[in-house]
Amino acid sequence: MAKMHVSTTVNGEPTEFLCEPQQTILDVLRDELRLTGSKEGCSTGDCGACSVTMDGRLVCSCLVLGAEAEGHEIETIEGMADGDTLHPLQQKFLERAALQCGICTPGFLIAAKSLLERNPNPSETEVRYWLAGNLCRCTGYDKIIRAVLECAADMRGASA
């Protein structure tokens, strides 16, 4: 089976790659495009470590085939900072120590960013439900939730 040629956009950059039909976009990001920020945890859509957005919609990249990316826009953790300037969520996660080992962190950041884009003023319950598909086995949930809420408040203040 010949490899498939796929044209897509990754973090705003037109990107082309070759992939096997069974390769996921997570495999492609990590192994072909060398964007290793998205992590492989469970590979069954349970842990959220591989979270990316596709056309602005939060998805598990382990449950999307590379071939399905044709013509779509993928955003990964590598596109979150603006050059050397961290996204406010990244900055807040650092300040509030909302991470320990760091494996789940890219997924949490992508998922939290997706939430705040839709709902700039989420309640704690809304944050917890939105992030229910992101698992942290160091169990830093409380710090993560607080960081997201605090960042949301800061961002609302900045845009007011």
């Binding site: 089976m1 096997e20 859509g45 959220g48 919609r57 939060l58 449950l63 085939l65 229910a132 598909g133």
Partner: protein, 288 residues
């Protein structure tokens, strides 16, 4: 390992032809949240994956005769953002929003939830309670079926070889109608139903129930349609006696198994409770 091919046809005709030629060696890909897991686990070894998301008939939500036609490849998240569906069928929408995580809901579809054939599929009891129809296209043409007639056992459906579910139709709602879906799981999120209960009903101006449908999930090899449960509600104002009858009908219908999520006895008890609670929520929504 046999070579896998991926195709993403742009028309229904092409997809039907590909499926026919593959003669059982093809799998349809919509959201992929079940398919890709089954593929990775080696539970299935298809030679061809047919991505159905580029087929126009399977995409989007259209208003039709006061009801809504939802494409089989539309994700739960998109349905949840559709004001018309949220307004008319909040029970169906809340069922879709219980499937997996935010990430899963961004991909998972009604069509996949149905055709995967799980007895515990969350959207299915809600769709059955809604009396939803699905359109099926295959080598012998087009037919319509009730959603309740599709799943025939765990992982099994009544679809013939080569048939594709292309959309779902949710009929227009009479005034004073409401629906609800409740699921019990041992935790708050991210689990599979121990019991699911969907209720849809219509009230008259005096608050008397004139039409009802009740469906249960995860308590038998297929979803159950509770005719006795619906009969218990019709003609009542969902008073105590009607609720007792509904509870009894739900318990009597259950044929569950014991597994790590719950015992037979527990599932039967919870089925009665959820049916009652879902009926009350549907009633409140119908009263608007």
């Amino acid at each position: 390992m046999n070579a896998l091919t991926y195709e993403s046809p742009g028309s229904l005709d092409e997809a039907v032809k590909m499926l026919a030629v593959a003669n059982g060696d093809a799998k349809l890909l919509a959201g992929g949240t079940d398919l890709l897991v089954q593929l990775r686990m080696g539970m299935i070894q298809p030679k061809l994956i047919i991505d159905i998301k580029k087929i126009p008939e399977l995409s989007g939500i259209k208003e039709e005769n006061g009801g809504y036609r939802v494409g089989a490849s539309v994700s739960g998240a998109v349905v949840g953002e559709h004001a018309g569906m949220v307004g008319a069928w909040p029970g169906v929408v809340e069922a879709l929003e219980l499937i997996g995580s935010t990430q899963i809901q961004g991909r998972a579809t009604m069509g996949g939830n149905l055709c995967n054939g799980s007895p515990a599929a969350d959207a299915v009891p809600a769709m059955i309670a809604a009396d939803a129809l699905c359109t099926i296209v295959g080598p012998n043409g087009r037919r319509e079926a009730k959603v309740e007639d599709i799943i025939t056992g765990p992982g099994k459906t009544s679809l013939a070889n080569g048939e594709i579910v292309i959309d779902f139709f949710f009929p227009a709602r009479p005034a004073n109608s409401g629906d609800a879906y409740l699921r019990f799981i041992p935790r708050t999120e991210m689990d599979i139903a121990v019991v699911g209960a969907g209720v849809s009903l219509t009230l008259d101006d005096a608050g008397v129930c004139t039409a009802a449908r009740v469906a249960l999930g995860a308590v038998a090899p297929t979803q159950l349609v509770l005719e006795d449960g619906a009969a218990a509600l019709i003609g009542s104002k969902l008073d105590g006696a009607a609720m007792e009858k509904l509870d009894a009908a739900a318990r009597a219908a259950c044929r569950p198994i014991t597994d790590k999520r719950g015992t037979i006895e527990y599932r039967i008890k919870v089925a009665g409770v959820l049916a009652r609670r879902a009926a009350k929520i549907a009633q409140q929504r119908a009263e608007g």
